[in-house]
Amino acid sequence: MAEPAIISVRGVNKVFNGGSDRAVTALQDIDLTLGRGEFISLLGPSGCGKSTLLRVMADLTAPTSGTVTVNGKTPGAARADRDYGMVFQQAGLFEWRSVLRNVELPLQVAGAKKEVHRAKAMEMLELVRLSEFAGHYPWQLSGGMQQRVAIARALSTDPEILFMDEPLGALDEMNRERLQGELLRIWGDTRTTVVFVTHSISEAVFLSSRVVVMSARPGRVAACIDVDLPHPRTAETRTTPEFFEKVKEVREALHGAPSEQAAA
């Protein structure tokens, strides 16, 4: 946290169906400061508003009240300037585009020259180690590979921030752990700030430099836990006492949170 803030969230509330008797408070009084280069996980049970918080930062949803600053601007301006890349739970690749052309999409939308985006997209495919699949179509790839393409797509414009909304949630355990390793390597290579939404405690601990534990109904920040496990983190990291200790600490924070029954 010595690094200067890249995202700051101040007194943010989000109420769905506000004014009606079906009003739901998704976020209540959220205060959060994210440092440049951090890997932050938003962890909590379903319905705790962690995805909503991410979507507020990404300007895909407007907060009901409070202020959000992303890279020194409003979220809207940050989106317009392509300051962030986004990865969703489903890869959402365009099935009519080859892998390479999918990765090129953000560059094309941003109006880059064709030669530039071809070269950049190839570089990104190299980063996620899928160069040899450049000419394939999405349906020819496994779910894990599709998600790697989605990560390459999100990073193709060299954004300062990477927003990830349960990106590994749809994958099986083995692919999931492999991609967690890949993600840490990519984070190390690009020094991008990552905001990662998950409901898996061990995933949050393994990946993050800081875990933001959220509680549900209304969504609040219950705790912020620094994870100082040394890098590079590998499969062995998962078996160390320090790792188990952190998982235990985070779990206790989750369960100690008020109005909390169960968490994954």
């Binding site: 990404a58 317009a80 962030y84 969703f88 959402g92 365009f94 939308v109 941003a110």
Partner: protein, 272 residues
Amino acid sequence: MSTLRLSRPAGGPALKARALRFTPVALTAVILLSLWQAAITLFDVPVFIMPTPVMIAEAFQHDFGTIMSASRSTVEPVLLGLVMGSLGGVAVALVVSRFPRLSGPVLNTAVLINCAPIVALAPIFNNWFGVTSLLSKAGVAAVMVFFPVFVNTTRGLLQIAPLHLEIMESLAAGPRQVAFLLRLPNALPFVFNALKLGTTLAVIGVIVSEYFGGSTEALGVYIAYQAALPRFDYAWAGILVSGAIGLGLFGAVTLLERILMPWHDSLHEEKS
């Protein structure tokens, strides 16, 4: 696009598979034709009820030149109408997808026009464009093609996965980029389905409107004339040729679909 082809089976086995797929079709055709021939000969069916395949073939051979030149003058307006109707349908669908509030009135108007029977449209278009004009026949075909293309394309343009829209939103894409990078490619399968319907409609439209004047050297006129004579074996030869034109156009659209949508085509081949 080119690397994909590498992952497909090489030419030899693919060709064999294709031959195997066509064998049952050919066999069925031979059996049906034989049964047809046998039944008519056996039960002594008069020609005006149903001629035998052999008689139709002989008629076709005898009138080959006439039928071919008649077909040519029929195919021209069919193609023109197909192009006009589909371009119009896609264009109006694009406008409607951009301004969804227009979709109600535009759709109602399209239904209204589509309900106008060919027997009404053909003479009207003859008055508008002139009896001998290519446009008067092509216009009828275009009106018939327009409707399915417009309705299906609109659906394809609007039926977008919410996630895809959200991705474009996160990329700060403008409405024009959403239209051309997302909506239009998403609508392509819908467009081609409509075009397949459109091919048969265009053929019907032109052939029927040929009854209402214009060049006498046309397939519709030929069929009507031979049926009136009555030379039903010749009429049937004309009918079968018009069917073949429809089939050929259908095949051409399917081919175009495979070329323009390689991702879709391969999806099918993998499944079958």
